[in-house]
Amino acid sequence: MTVTVEPSIFKIVKYDSKEIAGVAQEMLKLLGMESTNLLIDVDETVAMSRVTTTLSDPVHILVMSSAFENLKKPMTFSIDNAKFSLGRGLLRIRDRQSGNFADAPTDEDLSVVESAVWETYCVGRLSRLGLKVHKQRWQYNFRNRHGFKDAVDKQFEKIWEADGLTWSQLSEISQHALA
């Protein structure tokens, strides 16, 4: 596994590319993705938390700077936030590598609803791997995209607890929630 971080020296945020690479390697191990090579591209001009992944070799991860940020001390690095943001992106990659998500749109083309569904699936799994997760945040995101109803919450729980889903299964649950 090789991990490259761009830029190697940050001009705006106080991040260290080696530290980011270290966190990425740790996450690759945790997710059983040791054979994956990564190119992590951090856009430090944007204070947003978006992470966009592209399946290639190396796998390309485009990260907006707030995805790695300590939000209590802006422009400084947070290991926890970096782990969590990379974890979500890497799980999407792992899902794609499995072949069960061949019919999923690229990250850039995911609709806001599809994105919320997949995030729920990823964060649920990360919480079981021991990462600190605030479930209510993801529930709120899911509700924003599917509606504020008990039936929607039930579908959220289904995804949150699940492992080994395929893209079509995920989409089906989402359709149920929207119905």
């Binding site: 485009l62 209590k72 709120y140």
Partner: protein
């Protein structure tokens, strides 16, 4: 207890981290459309359609919550800092005490909404600029800077959040924002009324207060957070502002200042990147 309490001493529990506005302004990053994000959305306005809508709304709600805490503290200080009758009319202080109660409720509402949205208290940095505007030694300047400029911004923010809640179908958000909006219009009105009353025969003082108000408006528009452009997350809520006593001319001025600030932020990002060694 001292009269005139400095912003650096604002008391908070261990969860909160504070930054001055200067510190926040030193962050040149934008949330504007670049790269991938540009493709995903055509507007920065905070609506549920934005891919980052949930997190942006959570962050804004946290900003509202700490803003409400500071509005509460500022109104409280105006009750205490000035000698009744000599420095501030009794009725003005009664209005400020009423505002304390309203802002305390607003904190309660924002805390509950934050929990509902999955945000922890103190999760984001707190910008202390609102209280800073409430530190003026002239109560009229406080009313211009806080009640007219900042609570005016609150009207814009709540209007944006209310629409967000309605579009998303969130049963609590739209309901709560509507209630808070009603209170804020009252607070802005208090500012407009007292500014007019106290400076009726003192054009110099009125001029100073209005200048202070526009400085505060400019500070808050930094980065184009609020304007009539689609590139700003928060829409300038013209109608509610009219209700709160702003004139047409004043509204146009705020809109112009806000747009200029949006452009300034764009240039700042470009400058930082160009000036740093590769």
């Amino acid at each position: 207890m001292r009269k005139f309490f400095p912003v650096e001493d604002l008391a908070r529990d261990e969860r909160f981290n504070q930054a001055t506005n200067e510190e926040r302004m030193a962050d040149p990053r934008g949330t504007s459309n670049t790269g991938v994000i540009r493709k995903a959305r055509s507007t920065n306005r905070l609506t549920p359609l934005r891919p980052d809508a949930t997190d942006a709304a959570r962050s804004l709600m946290h900003g509202i919550m700490v803003g409400e805490i500071q509005a509460l503290e500022g109104a409280g200080r105006t009750c205490f800092d000035f000698v009744t009758g000599e420095e501030a009319p009794f009725a003005l202080k009664l209005d400020m005490a009423r505002q304390c109660w309203d802002e305390a409720r607003h904190v309660e509402i924002s805390v509950k909404l934050s929990e509902w949205m999955g945000t922890e208290l103190g999760q984001f940095i707190e910008n202390t600029v609102l209280f800073a505007a409430a530190c003026s030694q002239d109560p009229v300047l406080r009313l211009a800077g806080v009640n007219r400029a900042l609570e005016g911004l609150a009207i814009d923010v709540f209007t944006t959040m209310k629409e967000f809640g309605e579009l998303a179908g969130d049963p609590y958000l739209a309901f709560c924002e509507d209630w808070m909006l009603a209170d804020e219009v009252t607070h802005v009105k208090m500012g407009s009324v007292w500014l007019r009353k106290i400076t009726e025969n003192d054009p110099e003082r009125r001029k100073k207060a209005l200048e202070f108000q526009s400085v505060v408006d400019k500070i808050f528009s930094y980065g184009g957070l609020r304007s009539e452009s689609d590139e700003s997350p928060i829409l300038l809520a013209r109608r509610f502002r009219e209700l709160a006593g702003f004139s047409d001319g004043e509204l146009t001025e705020i809109a112009d200042v806000s747009l200029a600030a949006l452009n300034e932020r764009r240039e700042a990002v470009e400058k930082t990147l160009a000036s740093s060694p590769a």
